[in-house]
Amino acid sequence: MTDVMDPLAAEIHGPSPRQLLKARALSHKGLIFGMVVVLLLVLVAILAPVLAPHDPYAQSLMTRMVPPVFMGGSWEHPLGTDHLGRDYLSRLIYGARVSLMIGAIAALISGVIGTAMGVAAGYFGGKVDAVVTFLINVRLAMPVVLVALAVVAILGGSLTVVICVLGLLLWDRFAVVMRASTLQISRRDYVAAAQVIGASTPRILLTEIMPNVFNNLIVIVTLEMAHAILLEAALSFLGLGVQPPTPSWGLMVSEGKNMMLFEPWLVLIPGAVLFVLVLAINLMGDGLRDVTAPEGRS
């Protein structure tokens, strides 16, 4: 901080890279919007028991499909009730937990697998690279939705199964991007320098390579998280994902589908929330890419 005191030094050094990053981040509207929405939904998910006005499982068949406040309902159920008389807002709030949890854990699992494969391929090259590239091609040749449907149909739908299936299927993009970035980084002089001074391979990977590919990793994490959330909703919509009575947004759309003509809000509300979450995560990912890789911008 003494540097800042000295006007001469400040002139020479300019703002630090960290300060530049912060300034760019704050001026990026998409990133700010995405972060705020995602943070908000994460908070909602964590605080679900406090925020939810009702028990999301409490059924009341006598008050089924009460419309939301803005369609003539009452504040007792601000977003109305579903086909079994359960409070829609409460189910939506608890549904955020399911969606975010699946998104986060699936992205984590696939992130670990994909990064390990990608970095290994990029750093070691040769046979390791050939094997990893082959595995990536095999994986890319399998349509994700089809494989997920088949596996879930065989094993039966549950939260754990869905998370595992998605986690084991979505690593391809991690592997591709990590391999390319590692390939680039491992030719840099500082990596060569580390090798020359006799640093061990794990040390080089962890302290020289990883910090420099981390930015790319974050972007892929957000993309795959959004991808996993959408896939979970699709599987649940088809009745193969999270099983009732667990609240899940995809399941809510599926349950409201039959009454779509007369009570469109049953589908619109969970659909809209799902849309906003996925949009926010994608905007956040795009923003992070823009901010961390300014040379990518024209």
Binding site: L61, P67, G156, Q243, E255, F262
Partner: protein, 507 residues
Amino acid sequence: MLAQKPTRSTLAAAVLMASVAMPALADKASETLNVAFTKELENVDSYFNSSREGVVLQRAIWDGLIYRNPETNEYVGNLATSWEWIDDTTLEFKLREGVTFHNGEAFNADDVVFTVNFVANEENGVKTQRNVNWMKSAEKIDDYTVRIHLKEKFPAAIEFLSGPVSMYPNEYYAEAGPSGMGLKPVGTGPYKVTEVVPGQHFVLEANGNYHDSPKGQPEIATIDIRTIPDVNTQMAELFSGSLDLIWQVPADQANKLAQMGQFTVANESTMRVGYLQMDAAGRSGEDNPFTNKLVRQAVNHAINRQELVDALLQGSSKVVYTPCFPSQFGCVQDVTEYDYDPEKAKALLAEAGYPDGFSIDFYAYRDRQYAEAITSYLNAVGITTNFNMLQYSALREKNMNGEVALSFQTWGSYSINDASAMVSQFFKHGALDSTRDDEVLEWLNVADSSTAPDTRVEYYTKALQKITGEAFWAPMFTYNTNYVFKDEVAYTPTSDEVLRFVDMSWK
């Protein structure tokens, strides 16, 4: 406010529909009645499908020897003019003269002999063997007299001959076989088929030469049946005018349609009973909780049957406590009834050694909404359910292997008005029997084979009282079905869940 709610949403729906409205293709002027089927029909040949849609077409395209009036339940001759029992296993029919098939072939004893001998032969693979396997063979006496020989005594023969057993043209069927018959059906019925596009639509045309049948004469010239799996699409087409009649409409949608005032909504009960099956015999594991009577009683007390009927099934559905449909012969209602009492259910569970409840796999194959509501009642008393929705055939197989501890099942008794069609189906130690009670088996054997009505009632009563007293099942409700059609269509549905085109007309 309350009155405004439906109007608002219905209005929204109407506006939505108006925006996608197609030119009206079907109406009284075009003489074509457009009908939707939800399920695809595997084969129009009525002996080679087992679906409700198949029954509907069978009644329109073919005739049986006998006809049962769906309102009076009286048997009258159709392709036969009279019949008599020669002995316990032989029926003799006098056939109607002057009847011709749609392709011009004349109807006579040869057709009956051929049809009966073909379907009764198990090798020919008739889909629902139960419908035909009581017949041994048929014998021609003269051109218009024929005898059907039964394998053994079978009091329901007349019922089956008036239902699923219809007469096929011998020359044509010998040549075309089931697949040819499925694509170009030929019968004697009130409607002839002019077009079959599997998975898309069937076109029926009134049979101008229809004989003087108790079914009556067809009034609507053309009927176009399309397969539309999605209920929302069906309703959209009903709004836009390209459909005139839809059926099997869920209660919620039917109510909304009724409020719109442009359609006739008719509700009829069906014989289908919804129940929870519990593994009392311990086939899914000796230690499964349902081997304990207290647990089974707790389940019975946990479910609010009245609320299910009032809020979900609606219409002419009723609460039931018997493992059979109340109108069935022998289905006495003097049985143990379990009122809705979640506190008592919890107390019973505690007494049974499950003070904190337990966790169990729950299976269902249809009506997800009902199944969810039921599991929610169970969850409320401490029985945690792992929800599994399976296809009917998959669940049936699992059930036969004794892998199912708790499931939501339904049974329609093939619309046969006798308790044996349900109780005896499930409590006589068959593969689907989850109880295996020897006393019940013994009583049902007496009740099923006796010819004296009093004895039958006496033994059914014994069996039903034990089944309900021991809470082997948790019977819950009967089903109903909704028919929705344009106001210009005149039709009164019957309680046997069969659409009868011949009874429909334009107003």
